[in-house]
């Protein structure tokens, strides 16, 4: 599937009806989500044929995109029942049933779900501005699912902190920023004073030890080429 097609399919996915401040429910736009998933699939083939877990799925944007790109099984988790209802409705907009199961659960309680195992974890976690440490809690939960790789969007300002934690505390064998994106946040919360604001975010790829050997130097080279290309063509920079 081409990026354009993916983007078109994802464009009608509804955002939160009433976003909750405490959960930092900022919508992942179709622009950024389709680019993120397209990058993951075209560079690393980590979606098609892979069991994908989406942490903090919200209204299902990343989960739906992963299903469209050929994951045969997506498990999408969120702590907010209202968001999951919207996500479920979003799924039903598609003619063919999508292979997604939503589960209402708390990411902080995920470590006790030892049987839930992913190949690939994708997430757009809270940035941790309202709930301090939420971003790291998500990364920790992602690692506990024993995946081969984790993809996450995080604030660029937290880059060095995340890298250190991933490699030194969470046992990741690699932590790379694949692309810097500009996340255009329209004002959705009452305390927002500007109509929209650009936030710089990193698209991270973390590998966990078992998979480290499999990722060859070729992928890294390809990645650098792609990163350069993506930088020139970002949704928020228009």
């Amino acid at each position: 599937m081409k990026l354009k097609e993916l983007h078109a399919l994802m464009q009608d996915i509804e955002p939160f009806a009433q976003p909750k401040v405490q959960l930092e429910q900022y919508p992942t736009g179709a622009d950024i989500a389709s680019r993120m998933l397209y990058t993951i699939e075209s560079m690393f083939n980590d979606i098609e044929g892979n069991i994908v877990v989406d942490l903090g799925t919200g209204t299902g944007m990343l989960a739906i995109g992963a299903a469209l790109l050929g994951s045969p099984c997506v498990v999408a988790l969120d702590v907010d029942a209202d968001a999951l209802q919207v996500a479920q409705d979003n799924c039903e907009q598609f003619e063919d049933p999508l292979p997604i199961d939503f589960v209402l659960c708390d990411v902080n309680q995920l470590q006790q779900q030892q049987r839930l195992q992913a190949d690939t974890v994708i997430m757009n976690p809270p940035f941790g501005t309202k709930m301090k440490g939420a971003d790291m809690a998500f990364l920790q939960a992602a690692c506990s699912l024993g995946p081969k790789q984790i993809y996450s969007l995080n604030k660029s300002s937290t880059r060095s902190h995340i890298q250190k934690a991933a490699l030194k505390e969470l046992g990741c064998s690699s932590a790379e920023v694949l692309a810097e994106l500009r996340y255009n946040l329209p004002a959705t919360m009452r305390f927002h004073k500007q109509a929209s604001v650009d936030i710089e975010v990193d698209l991270w790829r973390f590998e966990l030890p078992a998979a480290a050997a499999a990722a060859g130097a070729a992928a890294v080279k390809k990645m650098k080429r792609m990163t350069n290309r993506m930088m020139l063509d970002l949704p928020g920079q228009r």
Binding site: V75, F102, L104, C105, D106, Q109, Q114, Q117
Partner: protein, 123 residues
């Protein structure tokens, strides 16, 4: 919720030792088509807990033709794989409960979404 997802979930209340597999009380079941992919099914067979899968399949009324133990030959047989595929990926629990085998704690399933949130005293 599909039986594949059921296979991944357990009762995670603090102190519970035998929280798996969750029993299913089905109120409403739906069927949805899924792509038939023999290679994916074979790889999933290695990853799931077959006994737990059978418990779920019994509860959802799709256990017919699924043996207690699966042989190598069966994993190459389209007839078996079709039944496995149907029970694993196409039969969905829409309304009902998942029940912890140790404590009897019920996790409700509403509109296909299991509620695995724990109360404060359960964490």
């Amino acid at each position: 919720m599909k039986l594949l997802t059921h296979n991944f979930l357990q009762c995670h209340i603090k102190g519970v030792k035998n929280g798996y597999p969750l029993n299913i009380e089905a109120v409403k079941i739906e069927e949805r088509d899924a792509d038939f992919d023999p290679d994916f099914l074979r790889s999933m067979f290695k990853r799931i807990d077959w006994k737990a899968f059978l418990v779920g399949a019994q509860a959802l009324g799709c256990a017919e033709g699924l043996p207690q133990a699966v042989s190598e030959e069966q994993l190459q047989d389209d007839g078996f794989l079709q039944k496995f595929h149907h029970a694993l990926l196409e039969v969905c629990l829409e309304e009902g409960s998942l029940i912890c085998p140790e404590t009897g704690r019920r996790f409700p399933v509403v509109k296909g979404i299991p509620n695995m949130l724990l109360n404060e005293d359960e964490v």
